[in-house]
Amino acid sequence: MSETAIASPSEAQKSKARPRRPSAFALLLNNRLAAFGLVVLVLVVASALLAPLLPLADPNATDPANRLAPPLSDGHLLGTDALGRDMLSRLLWGTRVSLAVGLSASVIAAFAGSLIGLIAGYAGGRTDQLLMRFIDLMMAFPYILLALAIVAVLGPGLINALYAIAIVNVPFFARNIRGITVGLARREFVDAARLSGKGPVRIVASEILPNVLPTIVITLSTTVGWMILETAGLSFLGLGAQPPQADLGSMLGEGRKVLFTSPFVSLVPGLMIFLVVLSINLLGDGIRDVLDPRLKAGALAKPSARTAVEKNRRWPETKKDETSDAVLDVKGLETQFRIGRSIHRAVGGVDLSIRPGECLGLIGESGSGKSVTAMSLTGLVPSPPGRITGGKVLFETDDLLAVSDKELRALRGGAVSYVFQDPLATLHPLFPVGDQIAEAIRAHQPLDRSEARAKVLDLMRQVRIPNPEARMEAYPHELSGGLRQRISIAMALANDPKLIIADEPTTALDVTVQAQVLKLLDGLRRERGTAVLFITHDFGVVSEIADRVAVMYAGRIVETGPTAEVMANPAHPYTRMLIDCVPVMGEPERRLDAIPGRPPPVDDLPDGCAFADRCPRAAADCRSGDIAMRDIRGRIEARCLHPLSPGDALRGAA
């Protein structure tokens, strides 16, 4: 048997030794604004809760003789209102009422809304339609207007205001939670739970609810402040708290009557509302950042137009004559991702060269760094977190890592163009495809609209798009995957590039379409003498199109040579094993020899050969020092101290 246990003991230990993720609460406190919000909120809530115990004046005791006393006057720290009541006492008691009402409304809205959302989202069909039509109807009313209508029916009063605010907020929860639930209900783990014999109630409670809970908390934490504000608003209008009961809103409403003479009476309760809502919003944003994994990864950072390049990067010196005819010559390229405290060496010193008209296949598994290499060449790796820390990218005579932004823009899409993997995601969804090709042309050539249009049609014919006049008006989503990828190729050809970098251009396509696109690409590059860097994970595809192949593992090229030679007699054990573990059509009886273990994590690469732990030929010398590429049999270069000779077997490897 050539399977391997899920993890060797060393791997298990390694994952234990890694630093644990900080707890959610610690993350929250790390966010300075959220921590500030938390402190303020705790202070406000504590003083409101403690109001009955504090040595405060009776909030409702009037004292007409002492009306509108200024702040800091004797016995009245915050002064008195129009009836001579103590402002500080009223403020704390009013805060108590406002908080209680706002929170109650939020909890009611969250509970009812989430329940509706869960039911509608999971049940789907008629139930969903009925419930959501009703929710839509509620949302068809301008927000506070519905609350007014409810108060109009029930009559003014604090409890009625509470109901009104709760009801008008139900739709927000219902919509949000339904959206998440619909997405979750289609997820495969819900199907898996069904196949495990769980009934609908159990699935909602144990499979969906735990995954929806963060969204409920986020929605709640970002709406509580708003609901406190709105209940205060109703009281301000005289529709909420009725005298003598007072909340912050009704205090403000009373203060408004003496605004011109004693602005302080309005200022104080308003400021308190502001402070409460602000602190809740700060805290809510913090909670959202902690609970929303997309934000947690820092993924929302804006990528720069060009990858950051380290100032004092180095590159290996080589003899000049060796590669003078190359169109692209990459020396010691290093690209890193800095995520948190760890450094991922995605590309750890890559050398490549491509001659004019040549197709080089760059092959590797996911995480090997092949795509990052391709993106690094013209600075398309997003920074942050990407960073080019070493190497040189010589395109003809220019170092692409050193040219000015303007020169780089002229090269991108000009002499060096790209074809990416998934054409649905890589074409702009909102522009017709013809316009997108025309844009690529006009970015580099001074053509007017009609000239550009003629060129677009010509390009579309070259990539064999049937009926180009009609198709150029189409949007990407209206075309099939194969046609979309042809559009991408037309765009890449727009300015007669010397080099096309194709990053898994056929991976997202069906095999029959893939064959057509490969053939097209192969024909075009031969006709035009364009060099191609073709990135793929598929040895079959590489065999079809590449003149030479370079195999990548853990951020470095481990073997390179003519495709036929590498495929037939690889020197590096990794290449051999990678070829052997793939089923091949026409050889159904062949044993599949799996490669044991997994590639090393690129933020924790071992010394010596990165493949040593998985290699049946590994010896002591493989585990130390830097292992250089060396010539083997005069045709292949491999980064291996114990390379294979033709006919060497690796059987019994795993």
Binding site: A5, I6, A12, S15, R194, G197, L518, H537, F539, V582
Partner: protein, 322 residues
């Protein structure tokens, strides 16, 4: 060997019906009259490109979706007869995306115990014994049972997915692209594991894939699907050696083979017919190099040609044996 699973004239339509204004909604037929038999102990490979209906077919086999027409019979009894739980105890499913088929908020133990609790009603000590057995079967370190899915790589997660499917002790396992989300070096580990489990546990597989090489290496019998129909079915060796249907031939010639360069000419754009407005004749006619006038009128039935009763094709002008 007896037929264990009989699929008869299975059709699945989506959409359709009328809006409240009385206009008809667009209707899409994902699976159009598929009939297949599955024998105990075999691996039926179903191969086809995106949109051919293979996943919809798979979901109907395990009861995650209901056919609009037709029947699926397990040992002569209609699938839906005994209820969802009885079916799940016999037929299980392995998902394409191993990570998303595991609830991120459940531990591996919770995930693996669910079928034992709800389908087999095992008690605590029985479950414990069963878990140990499963862990050994898929080479899962028992210490990992307390971990959460995000701590595992794709290959590891797929083993857990397989263990989950086996937890209910099914007879038939439907594998929907079980290795396409995995890296090639991990693919082989999973394929080998599936092969061993099948032999050890006397399982019957329905193995769905778009990868012809994978299908050829695992399947004893193959069904090729195109645009919602089975266009050809035959024992694996026969089909790969000499296909009858031009579409199968195109598929076989399109798949790149390591170490071979053999790009062939052809004006095919790979466009499928509009699923909302299917053609009346053969769905492949537009792309077919052997198309003749009658192909556009007659939708050919799946029937035996001159290669024995077990090799059938839905084609009016099948390829000759060379």
């Amino acid at each position: 060997m007896s037929d264990m699973l009989e699929i008869r004239d299975l059709t699945r339509r989506f959409g359709g019906g009328r809006t409240i204004f009385g206009t008809t909604k667009p209707q899409l037929t994902a699976v159009r009259g598929v009939s297949l038999d599955l024998k105990r102990g075999e691996t039926l490979g179903i191969v086809g490109e995106s949109g051919c209906g293979k996943s919809t077919l798979a979901r109907m086999l395990v009861g995650l979706d209901r056919p609009s027409e037709g029947a699926i019979r397990l040992d002569g009894k209609d699938l839906t007869e005994g209820g969802a739980k009885a079916l799940a105890a016999r037929v299980q499913y392995v998902f394409q995306d191993p990570v998303s088929s595991l609830n991120p908020r459940h531990t591996i133990r919770q995930i693996l115990e669910a079928p034992m609790k709800h389908l087999l009603r095992l008690n605590g000590s029985e479950r414990k014994k069963r878990l140990a057995d499963l862990c050994e079967a898929v080479n899962l370190n028992p210490d990992f049972l307390v971990r959460y899915p995000h701590e595992f790589s794709g290959g590891q997660a797929q083993r857990i997915g397989i263990a989950r499917a086996l937890a209910a002790e099914p007879d038939v396992v439907v594998l929907d692209e079980p290795v396409s989300a995995l890296d090639v070096s991990v693919q082989a580990q999973v394929l080998n594991l599936l092969d061993r489990l099948k032999r050890e546990r006397d399982l019957t597989y329905v193995f769905i894939s778009h990868d012809l090489a994978v299908i050829e290496s695992v399947a004893t019998r193959v069904a090729v699907m195109y645009f919602g129909r089975v266009v050809e079915t035959a024992p694996s060796r026969k089909l790969f050696a000499a296909p009858l249907h031009p579409y199968t031939d195109l598929l076989l010639n399109s798949a790149p083979v390591p170490g071979k360069q053999r790009l062939r000419a052809g004006g095919d754009t790979g466009e499928l017919p509009d699923p909302y407005n299917p053609p009346s004749g053969c769905a492949f006619a537009e792309r077919c190099p052997r198309v003749e006038e009658d192909c556009r009128r007659i939708d050919p039935p799946l029937e035996a040609k001159a290669r024995g009763d077990d090799h059938r094709a839905a084609c009016l002008h099948p390829l000759p044996a060379d």
